[in-house]
């Protein structure tokens, strides 16, 4: 699905990702954990194709295709998705208009038929109900004044609507209350399939007891310093990063 081959990524001329290699096969869920500032969000923005995130060495293949020349929207059309750590507030753009514009832009890019207003509405209502997102929230401008948890739920609503083949969830759990965490995790688990892969970035083992990963990686200083199975997350929680980073060095 996704092959990250020894990449170095610089932001504003400063190297942040320093030789990172990761292979994610269809159906797999990978978790990335790591201290603040270790480069997790940088990796996710880079994968999404954000301008200014410069690949200085290495390459990324998505389903065999080098993504280097692809704009963010082209990556989305091919099935990539990023649920952001800090979703952006855009007053002046209505949430529903945005959702429909985005979904139809993706469909158009893939040569699929656009959804008409009523089938779109039905689809949104169904997924919104699953995530306990109220009509009232959907009537507001995009993310504007949403609470932290509401923003995260809207990210997952988008993920379920867009049904990507590969999604990065950047700290989707932070800001969610206990019930919302369960709702969101259930939503993500419903999406799991043999064709779909996930990269889950989190600081907390709790999310990983709901969304169980096949592999857990520790990112520190811009590279993966240790990989293991789901038990690695428990070990991190018990002993902290310092111990593991030192042991790996």
């Amino acid at each position: 699905m996704l092959t990250i081959d020894d990449i170095h990524v610089a932001v504003n001329g400063k190297e942040i990702i320093k030789g990172l290699t990761l292979a994610i096969r269809p159906g797999e869920t990978h978790a990335v954990m790591g201290p603040n500032g270790s480069g997790k969000s940088t990796l996710s923005y880079f994968l999404a194709g954000r301008e200014g995130y410069e690949l200085t060495a290495g390459r990324v293949l998505f389903r065999g295709e080098d993504v280097a020349g692809l704009s963010p929207d082209q990556r989305v059309a091919r099935g990539m998705f990023l649920a952001m750590q800090y979703p952006v507030e855009i007053p002046g753009v209505a949430t529903m208009t945005f959702l429909r514009t985005a979904l139809n832009a993706q469909r158009r890019a893939r040569g699929e038929k656009e959804l008409d207003a009523s089938s779109f509405l039905k689809l949104v209502r169904k997924h919104a109900a699953e995530l306990n997102i109220s009509d009232d929230m959907l009537k507001r401008p995009l993310n504007a004044g949403f609470s932290g948890g509401e923003k995260k739920r809207l990210e997952i609503l988008q993920m379920t609507l867009f049904a990507p083949l590969f999604a990065v969830l950047d700290e989707t759990d932070s800001g969610l209350d206990i019930d919302a965490l369960k709702l969101v995790a259930d939503g993500v688990n419903r999406m799991k399939s043999p064709e779909r892969s996930l990269l889950v970035i989190t600081h907390y083992q709790r999310l990983l007891s709901h969304i169980v990963p096949d592999h857990v990686h520790v990112l520190a200083g811009g590279r993966i310093v240790k990989s293991g199975g789901k038990e690695l997350a428990l070990e991190l929680e018990a002993r902290g990063y310092d111990h593991i980073i030192k042991a790996a060095a």
Binding site: A48, G49, P87, A105, A109, Q158
Partner: protein
């Protein structure tokens, strides 16, 4: 007839005042951003009159041609009664100033104070080629909008004057459209009697090489409200100056504007709100999208005179630069001589928010479409002030179309 003489006297006095400074230029503080003299060192000769069929054809192409309205047509500065509706109802008086000044207009015409020296309004009176006076009687609500339709073609100058008087508790909507013509100068006097309300929508496109100056002087009495929305677009030069004099308590004015500029377009939104009495509100919001090498200007002065306690004034001017060669200037000014007032002002110039642009693209929206969405979102705050109705819908559509010309996206 004495009333015709009255106009001649006013014209002569205006000509004397206008001659003192001549064409305004950038060394005059109120004209520092708009050097009209550089563009028009000498005022051109009066434009030729348009043939009736040409005027009629231009009216048919007007942006508001399809709007059901009481239409008053000015062709190359001259009022054309044959293409206009005159006094269609007893509560609505419309007088052609070419026929002299009606008695009811005498106390108002040429008498409505502008808070600062308004040289172009003087020139419009001195060189008046056409004019109308409109009166809406007490307690009358005019359902159809009044449409001042200015059609122009060719070289030369047009000078026109309009007086609008809304008596106590009268209500109306005024729509204004302007098209074509090398040099257009129009000045409007507005008197809003107690509790009267006027909604004014102006669409002012200007093509490259065209110059237009609009001066509105409004006298607003107790409890009355003016709700103005001006849309300027194109690659020509426009100055929209509005002077408000609050004359009675609890009067309100909402001034809103959108400029969407391309090429070497220049739109100068200048306002002066003179709060001389208590408890009045002036609420201003101007937004500009400037493409090409255009320049968007907002100059707003709020004067709060001694004793005008309870004044509430808000000024917001924001510009989005859609090209690296475009420019925007905003100069909100406050002169406050009273306590207990609420005055706020803000101005911002910038590009689209990079985080927002990335967010939309990261959801599959291509860059051009994402930019268009964010530009419309930038304008939404002010376009949401447009009222309901066919004319406002046309302005909304014009804004969307003009954004494409401005290169935004």
């Amino acid at each position: 007839m004495g009333v015709a003489l009255a106009i001649d006297g006013l014209k002569a006095a205006a000509a004397t005042r206008a001659a003192i400074h001549g064409v305004p230029h950038r060394r005059m503080e109120d004209w520092r951003y708009s050097d009209l003299r550089r563009l028009v060192p000498e005022l051109p000769q009066a434009a030729e009159a348009l043939a009736a069929d040409q005027a009629q054809a231009l009216v048919a192409q007007d942006a508001f041609a399809g709007v059901a309205a009481i239409r008053l047509v000015f062709a190359n500065g001259r009022f054309v009664p044959a293409l206009s509706a005159l006094s269609p109802a007893p509560a609505l008086q419309i007088a052609d100033l070419g026929q002299g000044l009606p008695d009811w207009a005498v106390p108002h015409f040429g008498q409505v104070k502008h808070p600062v020296h308004a040289p172009m309004a003087d020139m419009a009176l001195a060189g008046m080629m056409g004019g109308v006076a409109i009166r809406i009687s007490h307690n009358y609500r005019l359902e159809a909008p009044l449409h001042l339709c200015f059609v122009n073609a060719g070289e030369g100058a047009r000078h026109a004057r309009v007086l609008i008087v809304l008596e106590t508790n009268a209500h109306a909507t005024l729509i204004e459209s302007h098209s074509g013509g090398r040099f257009c100068n129009m000045a409007t006097e507005l008197v809003l009697g107690a509790n009267a309300t006027l909604t004014q929508l102006r669409h002012a496109p200007m093509a490259a090489g065209e110059t237009s100056v609009h001066t509105l002087s409004a006298a607003i009495h107790a409890g009355a409200a003016l709700n103005q929305f001006v849309m300027a677009e194109g690659a020509g030069f426009a100055r929209h100056e509005t002077g408000l004099s609050f004359l009675g308590r609890s009067a309100r004015a909402q001034l809103s504007g959108v400029s969407v500029l391309s090429g070497e377009g220049h739109a100068d939104m200048t306002t002066i709100a003179d709060h001389a009495v208590r408890q009045c509100t002036s609420d201003q919001m101007f937004k500009a999208v400037a493409g090409g090498k255009s320049r968007a200007i907002y100059q707003g002065r709020v004067i709060v005179r001694p004793g005008a306690d309870g004044t509430d004034s808000r000024q917001l001017a924001k510009a989005l630069l859609a090209s690296p060669h475009a420019e925007a200037d905003a100069k909100p000014e406050l002169e406050i001589h009273a306590d207990d007032v609420t005055c706020s002002h803000g101005a911002a110039v910038g590009d689209l928010d990079a985080d927002a642009l990335f967010y939309l693209m990261a959801r599959g929206i291509p860059v051009a479409q994402a930019r268009a969405m964010l530009t419309e979102a930038f304008l939404a705050e002010v376009t949401s002030r447009l009222p309901e109705g066919a004319a406002a819908d046309i302005i909304r559509a014009r804004i969307s179309a003009a954004l494409v010309d401005a290169g935004a996206p």
